[in-house]
């Protein structure tokens, strides 16, 4: 049985790119968004989020930018880049192929 943590770990980049592709977000917002959109399934170990975001940035898939919020606080927003979008499209395709194949096999055969 594959552990949930391992599933998340293997797909961290895709998950993060998906979230910031919709709109630029900062770290804490990303965690909340993942939690809410997955209905609590993706509970990120928060400390691992920032290394993953920095890895994406270093790889040119995301770009960080400091913005000042209306309350005066500063937050680092992550935007997806052109390269990041291309990677996301490829990862999405792989994932959908995988899901289709899995569904064909895993679904019970009607008797």
């Amino acid at each position: 049985m594959i552990k949930k943590n391992e599933l998340i770990k293997g797909n961290t980049d895709a998950l993060l790119l998906c979230v910031i592709a919709r709109q630029p977000m900062y770290g804490y917002q990303i965690i909340k968004e993942l939690d809410s959109r997955s209905q609590g399934y993706f509970k990120f170990k928060e400390g691992t989020l920032y290394p993953a975001l920095h890895r994406l940035e270093k790889g040119g898939l995301a770009r960080g930018e400091w913005r000042t919020l209306p309350n005066g606080r500063q937050r680092r927003y992550y935007h997806i880049t052109e390269k990041g979008l291309n990677v996301l499209v490829a990862k999405r395709g792989q994932w959908l192929d995988y899901l289709t194949a899995m569904n064909r096999i895993i679904q019970p055969v009607p008797e």
Binding site: Y26, G27, Y28, K45, E46, G47, T48, Y50, P51, A52, H54, R55, K58, G64, R73, Q74, R75, R76
Partner: protein
């Protein structure tokens, strides 16, 4: 912010080992995260202490977070790897092509090394700087050694003025480098065991300069080869992400280059000298980690 949260951020900062601007950004980002999290937890009914403690549990170990962020930032590009390897490769060329006897080549290379070292130092000490910085200190050490050979009446100049100044310079640069990351000090000192090894292996018994020059000429291709090995080591170091791999590559490189010195000089380096050199190499490459602890404790 509660002390426990400040301690957490201090611990992350201490283990990050990034350049100052990246370090500041990472800490600011984590600080913002903690601020949001604690506020949400407080609004859900937790006390300040409970909110802080839950927030730290959710973040996980400070050392682990710092290590993972370091690994996300540590890998240099191929251009940086090439730039870092260049001083070693130039020294390799100097010997392989027998240019080491040409004053013009030596002065040109010295000027290039100094320019690159100063440029890198003022550009925020990127990883590629440290091999250049190491070579830029060679003339300082060489001048100190040459001053010792001055006539007796002049040696006081070296002892009173030059040596304290040179030692202060070496100390200041080493401490500044260790504050950035002790591994960069090791990178800076990487050629020292190899240079000492060749010096001991080539030194003629009768101390005649002509003999010394002749031996240098005989061994020049092999000296060049060891510098080439150092260049490959440095490029590999820059491309690696994990610290333990970086440490391993430096130590393995020290072992290989000293073995090359012993092999190519065909027994001119006694087994005792070889073993002492190995110990010196380990001390030179690994002692900066101990110095780093002392520097950090004294800085607190």
């Amino acid at each position: 912010m509660l002390t426990v949260l400040s301690h957490y951020l201090d611990s992350v900062k201490e283990n990050l080992r990034l350049d100052h601007s990246s370090q500041r950004e990472v800490i600011q980002e984590l600080e913002a995260h903690i601020e949001d999290e604690v506020q949400d937890l407080r609004e859900s009914g937790l006390s300040e202490e409970e909110a802080a403690s839950t927030c730290l549990t959710l973040l996980g170990s400070a050392k682990m977070v710092a290590r993972q962020i370091y690994e996300a930032h540590s890998q240099g590009s191929w251009t940086q790897a090439l730039l870092a390897a260049t001083p070693h490769l130039l020294f390799a060329l100097l010997f392989v092509l027998n240019w080491w006897q040409g004053v013009g080549w030596l002065l040109g290379m010295l000027a290039l090394v100094l320019v690159m070292a100063v440029y890198g130092w003022w550009r925020g000490k990127p990883a590629w700087l440290f091999p250049w910085l190491g070579y830029s200190l060679v003339p300082v050490v060489a001048a100190a050694l040459l001053l010792l050979y001055l006539p007796r009446s002049w040696s006081w100049v070296a002892i009173l003025f030059y040596l304290p100044l040179a030692l202060w310079l070496l100390y200041a640069i080493t401490v500044q480098t260790i504050k950035r990351d002790w591994l960069y000090t090791s990178l800076m000192l990487l050629p020292v065991p190899t240079i000492v090894g060749w010096f001991l292996a080539i030194e003629p018994i009768n101390q005649l300069p002509e003999d010394w020059l002749q031996r240098m000429q005989d061994f020049a291709p092999w000296i060049g080869l060891t510098f080439l090995a150092l260049g490959v080591t440095v490029a590999t170091f820059i491309r690696l992400r994990k610290r333990w791999l970086r440490v391993s590559v430096l130590v393995v490189s020290g072992l290989i280059t000293l073995t090359m010195v012993a092999y190519y000089t065909e027994g001119r380096l006694s087994i005792t000298a070889f073993l002492i050199l190995m110990v010196v190499m380990l001390l030179v490459l690994l002692s900066p980690s101990l110095v780093e602890r002392t520097v950090r404790h004294s800085g607190r």
